[in-house]
């Protein structure tokens, strides 16, 4: 089977001793494949053994001022919470962000690879890559590995010459341009809050608060989401992290504990 390893070429670090430094760069890192009759079944088993972290809530939307990107920070392996502090919003470059949902290793690796490709594009073309271009690069790589068991559900958000851009890209090879997306096991809950409160002409603070609430509600109802709700804003001068709040604390901010009115106080039994 021939795989499209072009995704790996630019990621190849300087391998090995000087004697190995032939033109073997493109040949150097290639994905080994097990020698089985049932590749699919083997991948399913292998993934079961490895149980990559997934279960998440991420969202992003375009509004008048730019793009808001938000995510939780929980990683779960089956029923075990493997981490509460995973960075699910990946900084591809100073004006583009990617979100992570699905297999943590898959998302981390391919986003880093995308960042490298975007930088190479800048150097080769003397201009920044567009969000359209970056998302297309990633989608093409993921399409070439379609059916191999990669699990990636990501949003590429950024600001380029045409203004704010937002694309959804997944490991099935899908790529969608849109104004509002939410990805992950908690996404139905996030959509409920997001779709209800969304207006195109919000201020940055209002938009950030909407995103924060949407993530909070998703973590409240979805067991696989939790941790810290991070909110980023992407504007003409690049991205900026607006807030990072523990969702447990957000709960008591939104629903503070009211001391209940006491009707009759119990009086201490006097003596006897």
């Amino acid at each position: 089977m021939k795989f499209d390893t072009s995704g790996l070429e630019s990621a190849a670090p300087v391998w090995g001793a000087p004697s190995e430094l032939v033109d073997g760069f493109s040949a150097a890192p290639s994905f080994e494949v097990p020698n089985t009759t049932d590749f699919d079944g083997f991948q399913k088993e292998a993934i079961q053994m490895v149980k990559p972290a997934k279960g998440t809530t991420t969202l992003a939307f375009i509004f008048k001022e730019g793009v808001i990107v938000a995510a939780d920070s929980r990683a779960s392996m089956g029923g075990y919470i493997s981490s509460q502090s995973v960075k699910k919003i990946i900084e591809i470059n100073p004006y583009m962000l990617g979100t992570m949902a699905g297999g943590a290793a898959d998302c981390q690796f391919w986003h880093r690879n995308l960042g490298i490709k975007c930088r190479l594009h800048e150097l080769a073309n003397k201009r920044r890559i567009s969000v359209t271009g970056a998302s297309k690069l990633l989608a093409n790589i993921l399409y070439s590995y379609r059916g191999m068991g990669l699990s990636v559900g990501t949003m590429i958000a950024g600001w380029d010459e045409t203004g704010p851009g937002l694309y959804y890209v997944d490991s099935e090879g899908g790529r969608l341009k849109g104004m509002r997306f939410s990805v992950g096991s908690g996404s139905p809950y996030a959509y409920g809050v997001l779709d209800n409160g969304y207006r195109y002409d919000m201020s940055v603070e209002e938009a950030a608060e909407l995103a924060r609430r949407a993530i909070y509600h998703a973590t409240f109802r979805d067991g696989a989401s939790g941790g810290v709700a991070s909110v980023y804003f992407v504007g003409p001068s690049g991205w900026k992290k607006l807030s990072g709040d523990d969702v447990g604390e957000l709960h008591y901010q939104y629903y503070p504990v009211m001391p209940s009115t006491v009707e009759q106080e119990m009086v201490e039994a006097a003596g006897a």
Partner: protein
């Protein structure tokens, strides 16, 4: 005749637990030395810890044949002795722990479709001499943390470490440090306690504990006996 499925798996789980705890100027990495398969103990004296660089040590549990292959891979690609030297010559400095962490992540991911069944924990000092711990899954996703455990006893050990060491998440704004506030001796004591407890309730953890401490003076090893049952 219905189609026969293969009943041979290339993987096995040799059990065991690893822990790493980082501090302001030190890092403690520990693993038990029991190697098992199923209900049998293969040996009581197997080291799961491997030195990758001067101030960088890796502990791995899972399938030890894959762990050995991973260690060999890192070495055979001249990554440990020679690549470090290449890096040193090119960049005029030792390969730091964060750099090694990224390297290990990529090495694991290149076997994405036939993974190393190895759950790793990397510990060491960064270029400023601060302790750092990186925790991995089997296919290379990694994260810098203040402490971590992997292996069969990790579900027993992690909650205890969370209770004693949990620090504010690095994702909070304003940013707060993820480094353990313990002194080196206290951290070593904590690790010993943790393994003693894990050996009580995890059948795959026990026999002996190997502790490696990295600080500004270098690398130091310690051993402690654990339950042999």
């Amino acid at each position: 005749m219905p189609k026969q499925q293969a009943n041979w798996s290339p993987y096995d789980n040799n059990g065991g637990s690893c822990v790493a705890v980082s501090g302001a100027d030190y890092c403690v990495i520990a693993a038990d030395t029991r190697m098992s398969t199923g209900y049998n103990i293969l040996t009581r004296d197997y080291s799961k810890i491997c030195k990758l660089a001067d101030k960088c040590v890796m502990a791995s549990s899972g399938f030890q044949a894959d762990v050995k292959a991973l260690q060999k891979h890192l070495a055979a690609r001249h990554l440990v002795p020679l690549k470090i030297q290449i890096y040193q010559h090119q960049h005029n400095k030792q390969m730091s722990c964060p750099a090694m962490a990224q390297l290990l992540s990529n090495t694991l991911y290149y076997k994405r479709f036939f993974p190393y069944y190895s759950f790793n924990v990397l510990g060491g000092l960064d270029n400023e001499g601060k302790g750092c711990v990186f925790t991995y899954d089997a296919v290379g996703s990694y994260e810098k943390v203040g402490y971590s455990s992997q292996g069969s006893g990790s579900t027993l050990i992690m909650p205890f470490l969370d209770n004693q060491l949990k620090s504010p998440s690095p994702l909070l704004l304003p940013v707060q440090d993820a480094v353990t506030p313990l002194a080196e001796a206290e951290a070593v004591d904590l690790v010993k306690t943790v393994f003693a407890s894990a050996s009580e309730r995890d059948i795959y953890t026990g026999d002996k504990l190997e502790i490696v401490v990295i600080n500004a003076d270098g690398i130091r090893r310690e051993h402690m006996d654990l339950r042999k049952d």
